[in-house]
């Protein structure tokens, strides 16, 4: 808004007796107020409730629930599980993040084919998918707990190191890497703050705020979606859901956030 407009409106408000309580605040301060106003009443709760019901519902060819799924802390333990993911799992002999682990459990416990389990990774307008709801529920059960990802198994070490390489990988017509936007302190794209994911404090805050309800889309978005859409905007080809590169990159980012308190599902622009 031009300065003149602001003055006119301030005058109008003053005339109307609605006193401007403060001096005009900066754009960044106003965005902070916007976010704070949304914090109370996060529609992600609707997904969490749906996810909890889905977790307990008997589904698939084996007509079984997911309740015996081992998310990393033993079969059936949901509380805190998200804080240790991604993690190496012996039964599948690979490192899995939450979404890929859910796919594995849908296959092993419920009898879905891998294709069926991966078919609808993300919701959209008028399309609710089980994956988003399960992710919302499971992460909400770790809310307030500290991230604690370990790289003790050689495959965990490898995933972390490969993930680091992917983070710095520049490609596509625009030469973008993850690091292009997330490699320096105190930067913004348009008005959005960009966390420096090379720095512990930023990585903690950023990673631990996903998944999130995105108001611009009206959907709960998982971390797999976060990477998928970042790569789209990097002008890369389409990232395959729960692909090895996505899990490696997640391992790198998740471990860098260790010690950060999970504040998810959160609400974001």
């Amino acid at each position: 808004m031009s300065r003149i407009n602001r003055t006119v409106i301030a005058a109008l408000l003053a005339t109307a007796g609605v006193a401007l309580a403060q001096q005009p605040r900066s754009a960044v301060e106003e965005i902070e107020r916007y976010r704070a106003a949304l914090g109370d009443g996060n529609p992600a709760e609707l997904w969490e409730a749906r996810g909890e019901a889905l977790w307990k519902e008997k589904r698939g060819p084996k007509n079984a629930s997911l309740e015996q799924c081992d998310l990393g802390l033993g079969p059936g333990v949901v509380k805190g599980a998200y804080t240790v993911l991604p993690k190496y799992f012996k039964d599948t002999d690979r490192v899995e993040d939450l979404e890929s682990r859910l796919v594995s459990c849908m296959v092993s416990l419920q009898g879905f084919s891998p294709e069926q389990a991966k078919k609808d990774p993300f919701g959209g307008p008028g399309k609710k998918v089980p994956m988003d709801a399960l992710v919302a529920y499971i992460t909400s059960e770790s809310r307030g707990m500290k991230m604690n990802v370990q790289t003790t198994h050689p495959k965990e070490v490898e995933a972390y190191e490969v993930g680091r390489k992917i983070f710095y990988f520049r490609g596509g017509p625009h030469d973008f890497a993850c690091a292009t936007c997330h490699g320096a302190d105190n930067q913004r794209i348009r008005l959005q703050d960009l966390p420096n994911l090379r720095k512990t404090s930023d990585a903690q805050k950023a990673y631990a705020s996903w998944p999130a309800y995105r108001v611009s889309q009206g959907e709960v978005r998982s971390f797999q979606w976060r990477l998928y859409d970042c790569f789209r905007q990097q002008r890369f080809p389409e990232l395959t859901f729960v692909s090895p590169a996505s899990i490696a990159l997640t391992t790198f980012l998740a471990k860098n956030s260790n010690g950060g308190t999970l504040e998810a599902p959160s609400i974001k622009r």
Partner: protein, 210 residues
């Protein structure tokens, strides 16, 4: 290949075991190869975005290695800048400055070349994503420096016009491993579009210089 991976993993494991933060060049190269292999298997082509977007050119390869705490050595930077400078195709008519109003539209628009975009459709430069340009637009990014008053402070000279054209055409020619896309070299913006963006920066009547 399988043997190679095992060796890489062992290399990493030992590096971690001794609490070593930096790895040898060989380990990094092997990891890079592994990462590329994994990426090729983890992305699929969609729309205009084919898998060859993962094939890095020299700038992308070198700048992926020199990142974060590893600063690019001066001789490597000089070599890159020289090679990139040679790619710039300056306008045959010698005119660098187009229409700033169109330049403003290009600076605002971030569409183009994503797998969700229509191939061949006009693309934007998305300058505001990273740069402050005018006082009217509050939603500007700070990845790049403020370009407000670009022409006013530098002077509306042909030399600055030419520099601005070249910088937008191929930023790597002036600053190796810059975060800024090579808009001309990579065919993101046409010559005319770059002229229009130059006008936004260099036209005395552009809001950038108000």
């Amino acid at each position: 290949m399988k043997n190679n991976i095992t060796i890489v993993v062992l290399g990493i494991a030992s590096a971690v075991a001794v609490g070593c933060a930096s790895m040898s060049h060989n380990d990094e190269a092997a990891l890079g190869a592994k990462a590329l292999e994994l990426m090729k298997a983890s992305f699929h082509e969609q729309g205009q975005a084919k898998l060859d977007r993962l094939d890095q050119d020299e700038v992308q390869k070198v700048c992926s290695e020199y990142n974060g705490d590893r600063k690019i050595p001066k001789d490597v930077a000089d070599r890159l800048e020289k090679a990139e400078l040679a790619t710039i195709k300056y306008p045959a008519d010698g005119k660098y400055v187009g229409d700033w109003k169109n330049g403003e539209r290009i600076a605002q628009s971030g569409v183009g070349m994503q797998f969700t975009d229509t191939a061949g459709a006009a693309t934007g430069g998305n300058c505001y994503a990273c740069h402050e340009l005018t006082k009217a637009e509050l939603a500007f990014g700070t990845i790049g420096p403020s370009l407000y008053n670009f022409g006013k402070t530098r002077g509306y000279t042909p030399e600055v016009q030419k520099y601005a054209f070249g910088k937008v055409y191929n930023s790597e020619a002036f600053s190796a491993c810059s975060n800024m896309p090579r808009f001309g070299h990579k065919g993101i913006l046409s010559e005319q579009q770059i002229k229009d963006v130059v006008a936004l920066l260099m036209d005395p009547s552009s809001p950038v210089n108000k």
